[in-house]
């Protein structure tokens, strides 16, 4: 599903060059639930950004679902992402002026893969799947953090992507809600979706298939 080959990412900063990722080799199988674990600043988010095509490697290659994404243009990457990747952010990042259902419909509108008439129905079904169906027509500001993250997960599943990436999805939630959210990801993986979560929390062992430890931009343990 995912193959990273000698991926290095270096940023130019006022203090000089900073290597966020150093010669990363990584393979993730389809349907696998991988937890990328590391401290803040270790390179977890950068690694996830590489997988989503949000950022490009300075060297090396990233192949996701058979596509070498590092050479795609921004627009092609956006289209590819819409169809192949669901992304969940730490701060939910729901669009504040759209309702929960509309937030979920947004990726469908972008990619156009779901017929127009079915989009609302599908969005509500996804919201029900993550247990926030009752909040379909509410604006994000009226939802709790956990509810917002569930909506974000429903949004990530909008186009039924083979890969879901989540960057610290429980970092802003209380422990009970965090547990429920992680269970949702587990359920996704059980249904065949490849899931990669970046987290600095160590207690995700119970839900993930494999743990990848990262420190100072290098993988310590796969």
């Amino acid at each position: 599903m995912i193959t990273l080959n000698q991926v290095t990412k270096t940023y130019e900063t006022p203090a000089g060059k900073f290597a966020a990722l150093k010669h990363i080799d990584l393979e993730v199988r389809p349907g696998e639930f991988v937890g990328v674990v590391g401290k803040s600043g270790s390179g977890k988010s950068t690694l996830l950004n590489m997988l989503a095509g949000i950022d490009r490697p300075s060297s090396g290659s990233v192949a996701v679902a058979g596509t070498e994404i590092q050479d795609l243009s921004e627009n092609k990457l956006a289209v590819w992402r819409g169809r192949n990747v669901g992304f969940v952010f730490q701060f939910f990042q729901l669009l504040p002026t759209l309702t929960a259902a509309e937030n979920v419909m947004l990726p469908m509108d972008f990619s156009g893969t779901i017929p127009l008439r079915e989009r609302r129905k599908r969005a509500v079904a996804l919201l029900e799947r993550v247990a926030v169906g009752a909040h379909a027509d509410k604006l994000p500001a009226t939802l709790s953090g956990g509810e917002q993250q569930r909506v974000a997960i429903a949004r990530a599943l909008a186009n039924n992507p083979p890969l879901v990436l989540a960057d610290e999805p429980t970092g802003n939630l209380d422990s009970t809600t965090a547990k429920a959210i992680l269970d949702l990801f587990r359920e996704m993986a059980n249904q065949g979706t490849t899931v990669v979560i970046a987290t600095h929390e160590a207690d995700i062992a119970r839900v993930i298939d494999r743990r990848v430890e990262i420190s100072d931009g290098a993988i310590l343990r796969k």
């Binding site: 921004e74 289209v79 002026t97 509309e102 509108d109 972008f110």
Partner: protein
């Protein structure tokens, strides 16, 4: 409606106060544009339509005398569809105790059968009977009389005849009486006889049969008519071919409206700047959302469509608001112009093309303005967009300019803080300053142009060392006139001049005056003035120099004057602003140097009316008839009236642009406050009271206002000179003696401070009401 459109609409609703401000500002721009464009369409149509409805003459020929046989002979020409004789004669009119006013009398033989250059009866009797006079509707104010009043009328022969004003007419083709300070009267032949004049008509109004709007064709037909007149032993003194189908004021109106349309477009551009400001801010505040949308599959084009959709919404909303406003404005403007130019508007219908053009420009302008911020905002890479933290993370202090700013003031104070804050969003600041400074520039220009016009007129009238001009009915011996003047108290100095027409390529006026005249101090810009001993010297004014290419200093020209040709040597060019084409020659070089037909008098501080009355009596005693007179003050009044429209135009422009600028500043301050909510929360947490937050924002607005004032003040000199020169050249084909009005700077500084305080009041008030918790929670 898909989610993209929903987002576009709800984002705007979320920011409805700012959106309303921008819609209002764009609507103001479009309204101004729509008003002038509609007025242009209505006025040009109605002016020419009203003029054409009078069946205006294709040509006017002044003949020694016209009888029925001559008219019949001319009508034999199949190219002439109509020929109608009239007479126009100069005179004076007096209503009650009011002084004599200059009068042009139009004599028509058969008022029931006017076919060419028709008059429109308005009120009272029609046609005028013997002993009656009709007055042009605009001239009542000049005559200071009303229908039913008895007036005294005299022509050059001096017979004072009481007439009754029996009605009013509208003579569409005449220049506005109030502006010209002249009365137009209409009488029949019997009344003309009562005035002691011969019952002859000497003006032939010709209407060509075909190609009525072809000037060359008209001139060919007129040449044939002239041949017929000559073959019957008559003499054509003068031929006038007005621009076919065009009201005499058509060009003036067109130029004025064109200038106004350009201004409307300018206001529209300024309001477009507000769209740039709003959308730039909106894009800045939505960078992370753009990142999220990209992260979940949105392409740049899809995301850009959301924001272009918002710009489209702004345009549509503004057009909807502005079209009715524009129509109301256009009606007011049309009514003012119609009153100003003395014509009637039958229909205020606005052509469809105006609506279409306004809609297209109104919608396209915000879209164009949105292009740069939207394209830049959507081009931000996803990773950068996702990690955007807004203004709080920008690094103020990185540039040398920032560091220079920190040296202003020395110690921290509200003003220092306000100055530094106002420079944080530089592009926004520049755009806001642009709109505010534009308002200031127009205001200062209005005052400067006004001061310059007054200065130009002052210089022009300073050259005239006389207070009173008297025009004689016929050339008279200077000795008689000198005797009459000698018996008139209050005259300090007097000169007799001889005024006539001459032609080279075009026709112009020639003034023969004493070479050492003490009553005219010409401003010579090339060559020299007339000098005693000159015999064939001629000095021309700049208007004539611009018209006659052959008349250059040092050149010899042959002029046709009084049916004879004479040779003249051009010795100088004089500058005379706003003057028609004129030439000056020594009085002793004319055939009869002791005969004059025009007097110039310098008066002691005497009442000019008393002097005029005494002089008229004394001239009559000498057998000399005056056909009219004008004080220099009256001439100046007429000029001031012409200039009034320029002042009004510029002041209205500056008010509208100032309004747009104020709305722009309000938008800017509202955006600045919005982006710095967290900072304000921090300040409040550190102990700043709501009042300090409020003062800080108002101070920032005032800093921007004062900056815009400084920019306007710096640019005012060259810009207002250019605007003044352009307007005056377009309207009067003359230059301007530029002068700067320093009072304008003081007034605009106060206006800028007031406007910016007012514009920042509301954002400041709202910011001061946000709780510390809300402000700190803002991300």
């Amino acid at each position: 409606m898909n989610t993209l459109w929903r987002k576009a609409i709800r984002d705007f609703w979320h920011e409805r106060a700012r959106t309303a401000l921008v819609v209002l500002a764009i609507a103001l721009g479009i309204s101004a544009f729509a008003a002038v464009l509609s007025s242009y369409a209505i006025l040009t149509r109605e002016l020419d339509r009203g003029y054409l409805a009078t069946n205006p003459a294709s040509a006017v020929l002044r003949v020694d005398s016209i009888d029925d046989d001559l008219v019949k002979a001319i009508l034999q020409n199949p190219e002439v569809s109509d020929a109608e004789p009239r007479r126009s004669i100069s005179g004076q009119i007096k209503a009650g105790p009011v002084q004599w006013r200059n009068l042009i009398l139009f004599v028509v033989n058969d008022y029931g059968n006017i076919r060419v250059s028709k008059l429109v009866p308005e009120q009272g009797a029609w046609p005028p009977a013997a002993g009656e006079i009709l007055i042009e509707r605009d001239a009542f104010q000049v005559a200071q009389a009303k229908i039913g009043d008895a007036v005294l009328v005299k022509t050059a022969n001096g017979v004072e005849q009481p007439l009754v004003i029996s009605g009013s007419v509208h003579d569409v083709g005449q220049a506005q009486a109030r502006m010209e300070n002249i009365v137009y009267g209409y009488i029949n032949l019997a009344t003309l006889v009562q005035l002691g004049e011969n019952p002859t008509l000497d003006q032939l109004n010709i209407l060509v049969a075909q190609n009525r709007f072809d000037e060359a064709h008209i001139k060919r037909v007129v040449a044939d008519v002239e041949t017929v007149i000559a073959s019957r032993g008559h003499h054509v003194r003068r031929i006038d071919v007005p621009r076919p189908g065009k009201h005499p004021h058509s060009d003036l109106t067109g130029i004025l409206l064109l200038a106004m349309s350009s201004f409307g477009l300018f206001v529209l551009v300024l309001s477009g700047i507000l769209v740039i400001n709003l959308l730039t801010a909106m894009m800045a505040s939505q960078v992370r959302q753009i990142g999220v949308m990209k992260a979940i599959g949105g392409t740049r084009g899809q995301i850009a469509r959301i924001y272009f959709g918002q710009a489209l919404f702004l345009g549509i909303a503004a057009v909807i608001v502005s079209v009715p406003l524009g129509i109301i404005g256009s009606r007011a403007l049309c009514r003012y112009m119609a009153m100003f130019l003395n014509f009637d508007i039958n229909s205020f219908a606005v052509p469809v093309w105006v609506y279409l053009l306004v809609a297209v420009i109104g919608i396209a302008a915000p879209l164009l303005a949105a292009a740069l911020p939207v394209l830049r905002g959507t081009a931000v890479p996803v990773r950068v967009a996702l990690s955007d933290f807004g203004l709080s993370q920008t690094t103020f202090g990185a540039s040398a300019f920032d560091r220079a700013l920190t040296r202003i003031g020395g110690t921290f104070s509200l003003i220092v803080f306000a100055i530094r804050n106002s420079f944080r969003r530089r592009v926004r600041l520049v755009l806001t300053l642009l709109t505010l400074a534009a308002g200031g520039l127009f205001f200062l220009s209005a005052l400067n142009v006004r001061a310059s016009l007054i200065n130009t007129l002052d210089r022009m009238f300073a050259a005239r060392k006389f207070d009173l001009s008297v025009f004689l009915a016929n050339p008279n011996e200077l000795e008689k006139i000198e005797r009459a003047i000698g018996n008139t108290p209050g005259v300090v100095r007097a000169e007799g001049w001889f005024v006539t027409d001459a032609s080279l390529v075009s026709r112009f006026t020639v003034v023969a005056l004493p070479a050492d005249t003490q009553l005219l101090d010409l401003e010579i810009i090339e060559g020299r003035n007339l000098a005693p001993g000159d015999t064939d010297a001629i000095v021309i004014n700049n208007a004539l120099a611009g018209r006659e290419a052959k008349m250059r200093v040092g050149q010899t020209v042959v002029l046709r004057m009084a049916d004879a040709e004479s040779t003249w040597h051009v010795v100088g060019v004089a500058r005379e602003a706003f003057s028609p084409a004129l030439a000056y020659i020594p009085l002793n070089s004319v055939q009869q140097p002791r005969m004059v037909n025009s007097l110039r008098l310098s008066l002691a501080n005497a009442d000019s009316d008393v002097v005029k009355t005494d002089l008229d009596r004394n001239l009559e005693h000498e057998g000399v008839r005056a056909r009219g007179s004008a004080t220099t003050a009256e001439s100046r009044f007429a000029f001031d009236q012409h200039m009034l429209m320029i002042y009004v135009f510029l002041i209205v422009m500056s008010a509208i642009i100032g309004g747009v600028g104020g709305l722009g500043l309000m938008t800017t301050m509202s955006l600045n406050v919005f982006e710095r909510r967290r900072e304000m929360g921090v300040m409040r947490a550190l102990g700043a009271t709501p009042r300090i937050v409020w003062l800080l924002i108002v101070a920032e607005g005032i800093v921007i206002g004062v900056l815009s004032w400084a920019i306007a003040g710096l640019l005012a000199w060259p810009i207002s000179k250019a605007i003044g020169d352009l307007l005056v050249r377009m309207l009067f084909r003359a230059g301007l003696d530029f002068t700067f009005e320093p009072l304008g700077l003081v007034i605009w500084l106060l206006v800028s401070i007031g406007l910016s305080a007012l514009a920042s009041f509301l954002p400041a008030w709202r910011a001061s009401r946000v709780t510390v918790r809300e402000a700190l929670a803002y991300e």
